[in-house]
Assembly symmetry: C2
Homo-oligomer: 240 residues x 2
């Protein structure tokens, strides 16, 4: 079985300007790995209509799923819903189910619905809502594109809402061996191992800690027994 593939599109000037450090990509990557969905590519673009439309069209055609974060609030710089609708030539209008969710939320909070808040009830025709238990305003799934908020707490709650609706694959398992030897010294044995276990992914990630060089060797795959076998062989090899 081949696992489904995915891409992520992070939308927002605040990320590219260096003001905000994105946290959603790392969170989503971990959740997708658990569900056996392979995250193959991430793109980050600013609040620019052409950039968003272009990226979402390319990624939607290339991968089984696309997850977006950012740009679905009520302010003038929130243009994601408009861009997604344009990208797939879908009508965008206020939808009754989304409006009802927002109205109930504002009623509880003693807030007035206004024109700007109502913008968050605009959902492309044919989309399914993604529940937002944190602040009510829903995300949506249109085709294979899952459109979610940028605020990390809300993003995470939307990921939790959408994940059970997706068909996953085999979770990717991994084991790590941490060695305090330079990469240049272990590269030979690692190359031999990676060739012998071509069905697994063998990665080597160097680090420096307190002036010493070391590396985390990570073996990844969907077959736990194969990973065990490769790791045992590696440990034996590097002991010599």
């Amino acid at each position: 079985m081949v696992n489904p593939t995915a891409a992520m599109l992070v939308i927002g000037d605040e990320i590219l300007s260096g003001r905000t450090r994105d946290a959603n990509m790392h969170y989503l990557a971990g959740e997708l790995a658990k569900h056996g969905i392979d995250l193959r590519e991430v793109r980050m673009v600013s609040d620019d209509e052409a950039a968003i439309i272009g990226a979402v069209q390319v990624l939607s055609a290339a991968y089984d799923h696309v997850f977006t974060s950012g740009g679905i609030g009520p302010t003038h710089d929130d243009i994601t819903a408009d861009c997604i609708a344009k990208a797939f030539d879908a009508h965008l209008g206020v939808r009754d189910d989304a409006r009802a969710i927002l109205q109930a939320h504002y009623d509880t909070q003693g807030l007035e619905m206004n024109e700007d808040r109502l913008r968050m009830a605009r959902i492309p025709e044919g989309a399914a809502l993604i529940e937002n238990p944190v602040s009510a305003a829903p995300g949506f799934t249109l085709g294979n594109v899952h459109v979610m908020a940028g605020v990390p707490l809300i993003f995470q709650s939307m990921v939790a809402s959408v994940m059970p609706t997706l068909t996953g694959g085999q979770p990717v398992l991994s084991q790590t061996l941490r060695v305090f030897r330079g990469e240049g010294e272990i590269a030979g044995p690692l190359r031999v191992l990676a060739e012998a276990y071509a069905d697994l992914s063998v990665g080597c990630y160097p680090f420096q800690k307190d002036g010493a060089f070391g590396a985390n060797i990570v073996i990844r795959g969907t077959d736990g027994a194969r990973i065990d076998a490769a790791m045992t062989e590696l440990a034996k090899e590097l002991e010599q």
Copy 2:
């Protein structure tokens, strides 16, 4: 004057698998903003030849500068130099200047040069070396593509080496107003302000803190006096 544009390509399975949280993008974004170079797009791909070659060709054609991180070490999964050379049809071979830098480093450390370490002296023909004060093995600039290491400390030292060689633009300045009001309430005045100051970027970034909703309103641009004027108008407007 229009500022130069840039893109970043983050290369590595460890980022997409969720194992490692990328730190280089946020660092580079901050440095570029200081130098007046506009970071317009970021892509993250795995250690996959076709993905790396495809992304670097597209980004190199679309932007003034491309910065890559990751995949230039000595192990089998370090394929970035090979991919960059292929992307621009440049010969890749061990270069004497790079080999001399590595040899001097290993001599100091009492280590032997071996075949794997020598891989790090392979530099595409026509490239300029990027100095690496941390661990010697150089990065390189080929055309408008700056190829750097993935380990954050080394990446940062390479950015420091390459940045003075680039022609910058006007640094992007910003001012932030933090308000404890919901986005739906301030969206109207913000929209008016953004239209009146179309030469500036007005962003609204919501947050939740201890159960309260708020937003950081960020006004960005290259003209400090204009930002002052917009911020004064905004503060007055939101006081009412």
